[in-house]
């Protein structure tokens, strides 16, 4: 059955700048905001925008992601026509290859897209926190009679040289593309979200694949080639909340912004634009008589006896008596034992922080590191983890790590 638009979600990235958090899982599977994973945002956007056919391109550490996506039911993407499909690289008669680049990942799945005979394909990125209505983007694409549209947002001029920039005229027609230029001519940064007319995309993917010099990348190859050929290319302005959570500080910051929806613009409490996720199924959380909770988000299954301030606690976190948690992102199933102090840090899933251990510290002067504890790590009693530490292995009782 033909679909007007199919979404292809790039979820194969390693996210190497998240270090300990992405050692065993792909970046889109990294937990976020109390009960979500990053990929819940693009998937929920798809469903809320009326897109019911999504291909998820996986490559790096896909197990957690595969299990999480399952049949797509939590996002209402378990459809008899379309629905969600996880697409790892596969062997073909002509040989087999890993996804060499973003464009190559789509190239290798041309036959998947063809099954739905779409007019348009939207390319999404699995490592951004963003609530966006893709149907509005498609409307723009149609109104401009574009062959290619890219979602852009305005960034401060002084930061512009860190981004891929679109130079556009007063009609939003793109005239030039600058990848991380020293002298930016525009402050419209590409969000890495594209809508293509499928016939155009297919043609350029096939051409790109035939070019042995190509890196098979959308930003470096496909977009410059479209420009070279004077294709109808337009920039779609997006003003909503958007965050690339590719680094530890940005991931931490985005989580903290969830605590302040009135100012940050990331409102998870929006009944008209729900973010769906696979639920823990745990019972309601318990706040004991000794606990003090301030300005925090607490998820089902938590048991709190200590002090929690300006923090996000995922499902099933335990904070024992006398423990102090502040400015922290504590992921599911982690236990913070009595008297431990956990501050200004990210603690991954199923970690145990021993009694009276100290993890991270509130920023002082120029010292504002976000300590990070990897999945399943055991931090011993009285151990000390410095504010810039990245802990991947167990820390023995009383030991220090900086």
């Amino acid at each position: 059955m033909a679909k007007e638009m199919v979404a292809m979600l790039l979820a194969g990235g390693q996210g190497s700048r998240l270090y300990a958090l992405t050692e065993k899982l792909a970046k889109p599977a990294v937990p976020f905001g109390g009960k979500y994973r990053i990929i819940d945002f693009p998937l929920s956007n798809c469903v809320n925008s009326g897109i019911d056919t999504v291909g998820i391109l996986t490559q790096y550490q896909p197990l957690v992601l595969n299990e999480y996506i399952g049949n797509g039911q939590p996002w209402d993407l378990d459809r008899s026509q379309g629905g969600v499909h996880v697409l790892p690289p596969y062997q073909q008669a002509s040989g087999s290859d890993w996804y060499k680049g973003t464009a190559n990942a789509i190239y290798q799945n041309i036959s998947f897209i063809e099954r739905y005979n779409p007019q348009y394909v939207i390319i999404l990125s699995g490592d951004q926190i963003c609530k966006q209505d893709y149907s509005d983007f498609l409307k723009f694409h149609k109104e401009k009679d574009a062959e290619f549209s890219v979602a852009v947002r305005e960034v401060p001029w002084e930061e512009a040289s860190r981004f891929g920039l679109m130079v556009a005229d007063e009609n939003d027609k793109i005239t030039e593309f600058q990848e991380k230029p020293k002298e930016p001519k525009s402050n419209l940064a590409s969000m890495g979200i594209y809508i293509f007319n499928w016939d155009v995309l297919k043609k350029y993917l096939i051409e790109d694949e035939a070019d042995p010099e190509s890196e098979n990348d959308f930003g470096n190859n496909i977009i410059p080639n479209l420009l070279r050929d004077n294709r109808r290319m337009y920039a779609y302005h997006f003003n909503g909340y958007w965050k690339d959570v590719g680094t530890i500080p940005s991931l931490w910051e985005a989580n903290m912004e969830v605590l302040d929806p009135e100012h940050s613009g990331i409102n998870l409490f929006d009944d008209d634009w729900k973010v769906y996720s696979r639920n823990s199924g745990m019972t309601g959380h318990r706040i004991s008589g000794d606990a003090v909770i301030e300005n925090s988000m607490i998820t089902d299954g938590c048991r709190i006896e200590g002090n929690v301030k300006h923090s996000i606690l995922f499902a099933g976190v335990r904070v024992e008596k006398g423990a102090e948690v502040e400015d922290a992102v504590v992921m599911g199933g982690t236990t913070i034992k009595a008297g431990a102090v956990v501050k200004h840090c990210i603690v991954a899933e199923n970690v145990i922080i021993g009694e009276n251990a100290v993890v991270g510290a509130m920023p002082e002067d120029s010292e504002n590191g976000v300590a990070t504890i990897g999945f399943g790590v055991y931090v011993g009693d009285n151990a000390k983890i410095g504010p810039n530490a990245m802990v991947n292995n167990n820390v023995k009782d009383g030991e220090e790590e900086w």
Binding site: T283, I287, I293, M297
Partner: protein, 380 residues
């Protein structure tokens, strides 16, 4: 056995004991009463069955079952979307000859065709008025070992006062047993007023499917209504009835007071852990995590996802999506889904049903022995 499935069919009577809690069931039935911050009573018996590999479960509803249908949907959350078996909701089949059932004989008579077509050897019957994590696997084993025709589950407790108070009515029948040393039931007493600890029937029974079909066919022809009162109690000589004692945690809802008390007991972690010893499934609402805004003060409270709390909460159970505004005080309360407590309101010993709104600065107070209940969708 190759798979983990139990050789038993589950049958649940979701309307049983509705009459004891008229307030709570004005727009629903016993099985869909919200309990323990994010569940409905039916979740406990349903999840217990599923956890024991029972995957063919019928609910024979009587009336007011829209909320239950909405809650259960296709049964996906309980993993009961199955090609063989799965979840089966049986509404009353109204025609000139059929009336809404009163007892189990009448209820089961309406599904005799269905029961004949099933393959499971046993049938397990249960009501939905008790929240517990019941090991049906152990019951099946005990029943097989006992060689009894029927095994009835009981626990030792005094008969709740609200049951005794209604003993002259047939609406909420209850049963107590005499049991001999071998564990055989020698006497079944209906609506007994005996004081002290009794062997209190928990309305859970297991019987071979073929035997049940025969029993119901014969009983129905004779115009019998209640399985326990009209068949088992009268035929203890020729039907071998065995008793199975339950010693785990059980929260039985017999009136509004016990509803309040049993919710409050969830604030004790020992009780919470006992009730949730195995996973209990429920309908997913996709709420966000609960948000405590600066100024919130919370102690000894259980809250589900989706709440926004700016005021003070103490000794309370909050269901999903409860909002408590700035300066509001909530103490010793059970607030069901999407209750909104306005600024400066002061609540003590209150039960608010779903979607209740308490406007700003209202003072509402019940007492320990008599919590005040506010009906669904009301604005105070």
């Amino acid at each position: 056995m190759v798979n983990s499935n139990s050789d038993a069919l589950g049958i649940i009577f979701p309307n049983s004991y509705d009459a004891l809690v008229p307030e709570l069931v004005s727009e629903r039935l016993m099985a869909s009463i919200p309990f323990a911050s994010r569940y409905r009573l039916v979740d406990f018996v349903l999840s217990s069955m599923v956890n024991c590999g029972i995957d063919n479960i019928s609910l024979i509803v009587r009336k007011n079952y829209h909320s239950l249908m909405d809650h259960l949907g296709s049964g996906r959350e309980w993993d009961l979307v199955r090609k063989n078996g799965g979840l089966n909701i049986v509404p009353p089949f109204a025609n000139r000859h059929v009336k809404v059932y009163n007892g189990r004989v009448e209820a089961l008579a309406s599904i005799l065709h269905f029961m004949r077509a099933q393959k499971q050897k046993y049938v397990i019957m249960s009501d939905a008025n008790i929240a517990m994590n019941f090991d049906f696997g152990a019951l099946i084993k005990a029943h097989m070992k006992s060689e009894a025709d029927v095994t009835l589950v009981y626990r030792e407790e005094e008969t709740p006062a609200s049951l005794v108070a209604n003993r002259e009515s047939t609406e909420s029948m209850y049963y107590t047993f005499d049991i001999d040393e071998s564990g055989r039931v020698t006497k079944i007493k209906t609506n007994s007023a005996d004081a002290g600890v009794q062997n209190q029937y928990m309305s859970i029974a297991i019987i071979e499917r073929e035997k049940l079909i025969d029993m119901i066919t014969d009983g129905h022809i004779q115009g019998l209504i209640y399985l326990e009162r009209d068949i088992l109690a009268n035929r203890l000589e020729d039907i071998r009835v065995s008793a199975y004692k339950y010693e785990g945690y059980a929260a039985r809802i017999t009136d509004v007071q016990s509803y309040f008390r049993e919710n409050m007991k969830m604030l004790d972690e020992e009780n919470l852990d006992a009730l949730f010893s195995g996973p209990i499934y429920t309908k997913i609402r996709d709420d966000n995590p609960t948000r405590y805004i600066a100024g919130a003060k919370v102690s000894n409270t259980m809250a589900a996802d989706g709440c926004v709390i700016e005021g003070e909460v103490e000794n309370s159970v909050l269901f999903r999506g409860v909002k408590i505004a700035k300066g509001a005080k909530v103490k010793n309360c059970v607030l069901m889904q999407d209750t909104v407590v306005g600024e400066g309101a002061n609540l003590e010993y209150m039960i608010t049903d779903k979607n209740v709104t308490i406007t700003a600065n209202k003072e509402l107070r019940g007492s320990d022995s008599f919590p005040v209940y506010v009906m669904k969708k009301q604005t105070v």
